[in-house]
Symmetry: C2
Subunit: 156 residues, 2 copies
């Protein structure tokens, strides 16, 4: 759809694409305010959950399950916050939301990525929506490469 950011992703925008199937794309989020934070984007221009077909919805459950298993095993995530917000689209006079989900891994214990020890200061509480990015570009690349290299073990 014209004027939809998610419908017009360039190859550069897909830099952090971890996985895609017929229904969904999974990206490592640009903003790593929580380590391993991902965004699950509908392939089709779909405005909200109610417009999804059953195949898309069932695929989403498999995607969430696979992603959580991968982030538990590879990054030692403890649990996950999943949300479907889409507030940004409503900053526009003519909102044109494109369905996507945020998945934030949460960590009971500190984890080390490259040279940085990351502590989830708000663990067991609501995520901090204004949290700073926690890691460098180099460390983000380390995470992406680690996840991408084992993606086929978790996603079918």
């Amino acid at each position: 759809m014209i004027n939809c950011e998610f419908c017009n992703l360039s190859e550069a925008d897909k830099k952090w694409l971890l996985f895609e199937n017929s229904f969904w794309m999974v990206f490592l989020a640009d903003r790593q305010d929580y380590i391993g934070r991902c965004i699950i984007v509908c392939r089709e221009h779909c405005t909200d959950i109610s417009k999804l077909g059953n195949e898309q919805w069932l695929s989403l459950k498999i995607i969430i399950s696979s992603l959580e298993k991968m982030l538990e095993n590879e990054l030692q995530a403890t649990m996950f916050n999943v949300s479907c917000l889409m507030n940004d689209a409503y900053k526009n006079k003519n909102p044109n939301p494109h369905l996507h989900f945020h998945l934030r891994p949460r960590y009971a214990n500190p984890i080390t990525i490259g040279n940085t020890v990351f502590t989830d200061k708000e663990f067991a509480h609501h995520y901090n929506n204004k949290a700073d990015v926690q890691i460098s570009d180099t460390e983000m690349q380390i995470i992406f490469d680690r996840l991408k290299s084992c993606i086929n073990r978790y996603f079918i």
Copy 2:
């Protein structure tokens, strides 16, 4: 399950129950920080999305769609933030989460409930997780009665 709050709801706890089927219960949330905020609770003790069966997951989509349509029509909600967080369970040394979803209606325009005009000050931005309760007990009862009286038009 013993020691699970959601598995041991009393009749008093079900005061704000709007709808239930074999898989889910829908409550008007105790904390009306966003007007019409609801909680969708799994009937069975299920710890996370990956453990849900397909029937439960498909029913959840119908529940979300029905609830959103009702809140759009009856309370003039503009859009919705849906989240699955379950942070509180991890305050416990032996976490025993019980799957539930939060659904927050968001409002582009002010709405009036009883004598109170409610404005969604953060519309088009992330919800305020520390927002105060916006309405009185009387106004909450008005909302509950209004939704409960028309529930069969939206839920099957």
